[in-house]
Amino acid sequence: MTELPEVLAVVVVRDAALPSGADEAIAECGGAVLLVGTGTRAAAGELTAARTVWTSEVPRVAPGALAAALAPVLDSVPVVLLPASPDGRDLAARLAFQMDRRLFAGATSCTSTHVELSRVDDQLAVEVQLKSPVVVTLQPGARGVPEPVPSSEPVELPLELPDDVLDAETVQVLAPDPETVELTEADRILGAGAGLVRPGEDGTTAMRTLTEVAAALGASAGATRVITDAGWAGHDRQIGTTGVVVDPDLYVAFGISGASQHVGGLGRPEHVISVNTDPSCPMTAMADLGIIADAPAVLDELARRLNGAADER
């Protein structure tokens, strides 16, 4: 058995399904990965960025027990990198605590000597020089997935889950609910960001208008986390790395700055329009058409025109 490398991706697998950002994390580690969870063998076959694969098949995915079992195994690995997917974020802090290491969460790049972290809603890059062993989570979408590389046969790394660690019990896993499916499968999406709601106003009205306009355009309505956190739209509407991952042809962003956590869930739309007052925000920079205008006013105008048209029918 080959020894574990200096930089290793640890990817939690559930029922052979890979989390978002798995291949990116693996590519960042030069292709070395330990898959841990259920259905790891089958998941190994789905990887595109892996060169060297270890698998640890365990009966259940439980962060506390996994951390306890993995800590001694990973002791020799100075940089342990996990994708910042739900299960990755769950495990990372537990591992760091167990291994008495620092955790650098939300990295946008990671080498054996440096990590760069995204902070302040993706406005600030914080660079840290690594002086001692660490655990790092990598922001999905920050790196991009490289071309497929050939992979070697996975090596099984047996892991015994302790039974004296307290973990929550998984009662069931619910399939994506219809609301979410509608959004994930939509070809056209209109997205609402903080700029669509005027300060002090209640964003539910704006969301309602957006949904109407979307309907008139045969599109679905999504939102950024600022909107869902404020309770103006359901959590199912949140697009991004911690929300729903979508893949439309057309994305129209209203008042969205384009933080990587949002854009990371956007897939590769063919056409992107950004309506924003800031011509230099990332969303406008990446758009095919950047419209510098007041988003709430533009939305109202669209509603007037499109609903006006709908009424005529």
Binding site: A17, G64, S85, P86, R89, D90, A93, R94, A96, F97, Q98, R102, A105, G106, S109, L117, S118, R119, V120, D121, Q123, L124, A125, V126, E127, V128, R143, G144, P146, E147, L166, A168, T170, Q172, V173, L174, P176, D177, L183, T184, A216, G218, T228, G231, H235, T242, V244, S260, H271, P279, D288, L289, G290, I291, I292, V298, E301, L302, L306, A309
Partner: protein, 284 residues
Amino acid sequence: MQIVAALSWSWQRTQVDPLTGAVTAEHRGSNAAELAALEHALRLAEELDGHVLAVTVGPPEADEVLRTALAAGAHEAIRVECDGSPDPRLLASNGAETARAIATALSTTPDLVLCGDRSSDGATGTTPAFLAARLGAAQALGAVRLETEGSKVLAHRRLDGGSREVLRLPAPAVVSVEGGTRLRRASLPAVLAAQNTAIPSVPFETQPGPAVSTRPRRPRPRELPPPAAPAAHDRILELTGALVERTPPTIVGPLSASEAADALLEYLQRHGYSTVQREAAEQS
């Protein structure tokens, strides 16, 4: 049942100078997710006959969020003395330290700790997991819904791709929740009473974070796959994107609302996204 609600006293509006990367911050308080955590704590306490302790790690001004909690119905509040200015060092990795600080305020291990899924300035969402590790508790991060099943709490949390996991929580457990559940409105007498309550505090010695350097964030260049064409000439064409038909990105404006709507609809039309408006026009 002992329930703890952890409310941060974090900078709510942080700005980064796009040229220098200098960080300025205004307005401290708790964010929507944390107030949602408090609301969940209060609801669970009502349902399961619980006692809610509100905790914050912060300077004396942070008593304000604890008073908000008391007014809304928390039974007790405690502050862990600690002042953090918006220091980039703390931005790098403060979840572990915050968890250690919160733990010092708890004389016994509570049955349930409710947190927001991330604070507004640290914003890594790592505090709750570190706290769970420290307390030897189970964890459920990023819950979008909480419900009870007898005396047990069930948490629905997001997994990838829109699916969700339902977790049954043992005690002790730490849950972090997303925002969206609004904190109840406190009654006037409760607000007034909370103002007159003395709030105990415990000392805490912070350990400094790692040395860091900061700059405004720019998206990382993406790696492109190497061109595949056999001939060098074709590879160059492929790399430079010459001869590939595409519409160059355009930025227009500032525009008025109606000009903007024109530009937007015209773009959609040009790229074959038929709108109801057009269908309506065709039908008439």
